[in-house]
């Protein structure tokens, strides 16, 4: 069964860039995109233990007929058979249910009904909820179409980071690209991180794709991020802890995404490795 990437199409030039990013990701990964052209400004995603209502701004509804031709045009150019998603079930007449059985999903940084917030450089609460609840990783694209040539994984040693590393290795294997790991060394020394990887039985796998492992031993994490190549797909894990902890300790995900504008692939706490 071919893996699927779920993409919500916005019929604007910005939406075109996002779809191009998704198409690039799909072509690299051998994944098929499923494109949803929204029919109303809201939809529901039912996860295992959460239901997320996603509200879109009205620009998603621009000329649905033209949107179909736009999508088909872009997909045909990439020689992918266009597959449009039509919702089967409705919670209320204007509230379709979107299944959550995809392998990937592409999101803008923020999905909201207030367009002004888009591109403000923080991850919106809806996208956060989706990341927290989803079994699939979420692709957060940079605003402009940017093909990536290598993979950068942020690895902090936690269980989620291991999941993200697994995901990174899988992408590196499929695409044949090199993978670099970035670790901000805290109190531990670098060998500790390597030991974690060995513990999880990832040593062999990692060796075959790893180009380098960068340890940031000093300096602020945000400043060190300049080291990450501009054309890398950044893979990271998101953590399951709540808002309070994020405010107190600061969220790694937030720091990374507000500093670098690469394409991000985020694996949430419920992410399960497929295949």
């Amino acid at each position: 069964m071919a893996q699927k990437l779920f993409h919500i199409f916005r019929n604007t030039p910005l939406g075109r860039e996002t779809l191009l990013q998704s198409i690039y990701f799909c072509r690299q990964m051998g994944v098929l995109p499923t494109v949803y052209i929204p029919e109303s400004t809201k939809f529901l995603m039912y996860f295992e233990n959460d239901v997320v209502q996603v509200d879109l701004d009205p620009s998603y509804l621009n000329d649905p007929e033209i949107a179909v031709t736009h999508v088909e045009q872009l997909l045909n150019e990439a020689q992918i058979k266009p597959e449009l998603f039509t919702p089967k079930n409705y919670t209320a007449s204007t509230l379709p249910d979107i299944p959550t059985s995809f392998e990937f999903m592409c999101c803008p940084r923020s999905i909201s009904d207030l367009s002004s917030k888009i591109g403000l450089g923080y991850i919106g609460p809806r996208v956060r909820r989706i990341i927290q609840a989803a079994r699939f990783p979420v692709l957060i694209t940079s605003p402009v179409y940017k093909p990536w040539q290598s993979i950068a994984v942020f690895f902090g040693g936690s269980a989620n980071a291991v999941n993200a590393l697994r995901l990174g290795i899988r992408i590196a294997k499929v695409t044949g690209m090199r993978l670099a790991i970035y670790t901000q060394v805290g109190k531990n020394n670098p060998s500790k991180y390597q030991a974690i990887v060995q513990d999880k039985g990832l040593g062999k796998l990692l060796e075959s794709v790893l180009s380098q492992w960068n340890f940031f031993e000093k300096g602020r994490f945000e400043d060190n991020l300049y080291e990450v190549p501009h054309d890398a797909l950044v893979v990271l894990g998101a953590y399951g802890h709540g808002i309070i902890r994020d405010i107190v300790f600061g969220s790694m995900m937030e720091k990374i995404q507000s500093t670098i504008s690469n394409n991000l692939l985020i694996a949430g706490p419920k992410y399960t490795v497929i295949g």
């Binding site: 239901v51 509200d55 209320a92």
Partner: protein
């Protein structure tokens, strides 16, 4: 500290609750019952405050625009602020319960409370019960989500929320319990009944603590004779007629309002102002109408037969205008009002025609009418009977009550097969009660039924080679895939090769590509099982290939389906 929080977050993993979650559910039922009880009381209080506050302005002519303003505000609130659709929300709860294990949004926990408060408080003719049911259910669901409970436990808590809300608003624990089980869950199992009963009691206690233990519609004693019971048959027929009229009026009002091409809030305002205009002449129809019911039951209503009948009809119209044009609220309270006035008019009618017969007090008929309408609209006779007994404290009317409820439900069922809460779901084919065929088929996915022990062949194979594969296979079906692209091109059934099987000359001359059937009906992994079965029945076939993205995934057959279907049914209909 974090460890403790982590532990608190997953109470299902505590060793105390591990072996049996009944205790866990009972504790959560109390919490949910209290919360939904509070939500119900909040709405009740704010409605009272608002009605009292606006009461002074009713005398002015511009008061007819008050319901318009309220309805418009409530529509704006739902549409722009919380982004939810109009409607009373009960179908949404039932839908979530049957399809997604009772997952409801947090915003549903308060949105309907505020919007219905605006609609009803300003004078719109609607009930606060459906909104509190929605809130209670959403509160239950979100508590379950916060503690990572599983679907079955979450559904039980959704039921608890609904039960607590109804119990609190009417001070009627049994009705709350029966409503939650009969209407919301549709499943009578001890697993659910106990926590729901607890939640109903908790909700009632909250209401008694804060509002005092009062019977909502107290009445005098009734002295019921046999001829009164006979007359009930007639009353039931009138109640059924009124129920049908209300249902039809609501539906046609929806169609009319849909044709008006204005923003939703303007639509609500139009409906509201019409209600306001009616209310200027007949103030009885405004609001949720508890006051009118009280007067009717106490027998203090002075109007004649014509006036009472007109009020019943106008109340139907006002309710249809409020709800059909986009106001927010439920149907419960209007039903009670209409029922009371139907009962009253029937009593007046009897008293005029057979004036010599000593009929029972008119309050009794008002009460019976209420039960008749609730039963007819909800088609939930138990809810109707218990609700009327509890809110009136009148146990002595039980016999005529059952007669009216039963006849009214039956008559309505002939004309409107699905009840008010369920008809949308039935129309969409989404009423999936536990243990029913539709539910089992929805729960099972094609992925789970896939038989993957088929051996794929390619179209350029000689028959001789194919026969060797046949020898080692247990199946009669052989999918054919293209050698390079691995795309599905057709199927070969054993029957297709039978004519050539014993003809060795053909073994080397024929290729599988020439034998295969390229026009096979296939299904996709994401198809609904009900549709797949329909396809099988139409074609008189027992198994079909599953093909997704042009790749063969496996076979699906009725034999495996029966096996899985049985297991699913056995697990789903547990009664322990």
């Amino acid at each position: 500290m974090t460890r403790l929080l982590e532990k608190l977050k997953y109470p299902g993993r505590w060793s105390l609750f591990r072996s049996d979650d009944r205790l866990l559910l009972m504790i959560f039922a109390i919490i949910v019952g209290i919360c939904s009880g509070l939500a119900a009381l909040f709405l009740n209080r704010s409605l009272e405050t608002m009605l009292e506050w606006l009461h002074h302005y009713r005398v002015y002519w511009w008061a007819i625009f008050l319901p318009a303003a309220g309805a418009a505000l409530s529509s704006l609130f739902l549409e722009k602020i919380v982004n939810e659709g109009a409607g009373h929300g009960v179908p949404e709860v039932i839908y979530a319960v049957s399809r997604y294990g009772g997952l409801l949004r947090l915003r549903s926990g308060f949105s309907r409370l505020i919007s219905s408060c605006l609609t009803i408080g300003s004078g719109g003719s609607a009930g606060p019960e459906a909104p509190v049911v929605m809130s209670g259910a959403a509160i239950g669901s979100n508590i379950a989500q916060a503690f990572s409970l599983n679907d079955r436990q979450r559904v039980a808590l959704v039921g608890c929320g609904a039960a607590g809300a109804i119990a609190a608003i009417f001070n009627a624990p049994i009705s709350g319990m029966v409503f939650a089980i009969e209407v919301i869950l549709g499943e009578w199992s001890t697993m659910n009944i106990i926590p729901i009963a607890i939640a109903a009691v908790a909700g009632t206690e909250v209401s008694r603590l804060l509002k005092g233990n009062q019977i909502v519609f107290a009445h005098r004693d009734f002295n019921i004779h046999f001829h009164d019971i006979l007359a009930c048959v007639g009353l039931a027929i009138f109640c059924a007629a009124a129920s049908i009229l209300l249902t039809r009026a609501l539906r046609s009002m929806h169609h009319v309002s849909k044709g008006v091409a204005v923003p939703l809030w303007v639509r609500a305002a139009i409906g509201g102002s019409m209600v306001g205009a009616i209310g200027y002449f007949l103030p009885y129809v405004l609001g949720e109408g508890y006051h009118a019911i009280r007067t009717a039951i106490e027998g203090g209503f002075s109007g004649g037969l014509m006036l009472v009948a007109v009020i019943a009809l106008v109340k139907i119209l006002a309710t249809a205008l409020t709800l059909g044009w986009g106001g927010s609220g439920g149907i419960f309270a209007p039903c009670l009002v209409i029922g009371a006035f139907v009962g009253l008019s029937f009593h007046r009618f009897l008293a005029t025609v057979w004036s010599s017969v000593p009929w029972v007090n008119e309050g009794c008929f008002a009460l019976l009418g209420m039960a008749g309408l609730i039963s007819g609209i909800l088609q939930a006779p138990l809810t109707g009977i218990f609700l009327v007994i509890e809110i009136t404290g009148g146990y002595e009317v039980i016999l005529p009550l059952i007669v009216v409820s039963a006849i009214s439900t039956t008559l309505c069922h002939y004309l409107e097969p699905a009840s008010f809460y369920l008809k949308d779901l039935v129309k969409r084919g989404q009423l999936l009660r536990p243990g029913t065929d539709a539910r089992v088929l929805t729960d099972l996915s094609i992925q789970e039924l896939l038989e993957t022990d088929c051996i794929c062949v390619h179209p350029n194979m000689r028959l001789a080679d194919f026969i060797h594969i046949v020898k080692s296979s247990r199946r009669n079906y052989f999918p054919v895939e293209d050698q390079q692209s691995r795309q599905f091109v057709g199927m070969i059934h054993l029957d297709d090769i039978r004519p050539y099987l014993f003809d060795p000359a053909m073994h080397h001359a024929v290729l599988t590509g020439q034998l295969m059937n390229t026009h096979v009906k296939t299904v996709s992994l994401h198809d609904d099982l009900a549709e797949v079965l329909q396809k099988m029945d139409d074609g008189h076939i027992f198994s079909m290939p599953v093909v997704s993205d042009n790749r063969f995934q496996g076979m699906i057959s009725k034999a495996t389906l029966l096996d899985q279907y049985r297991k699913e049914l056995m697990v789903q209909t547990d009664r322990y």
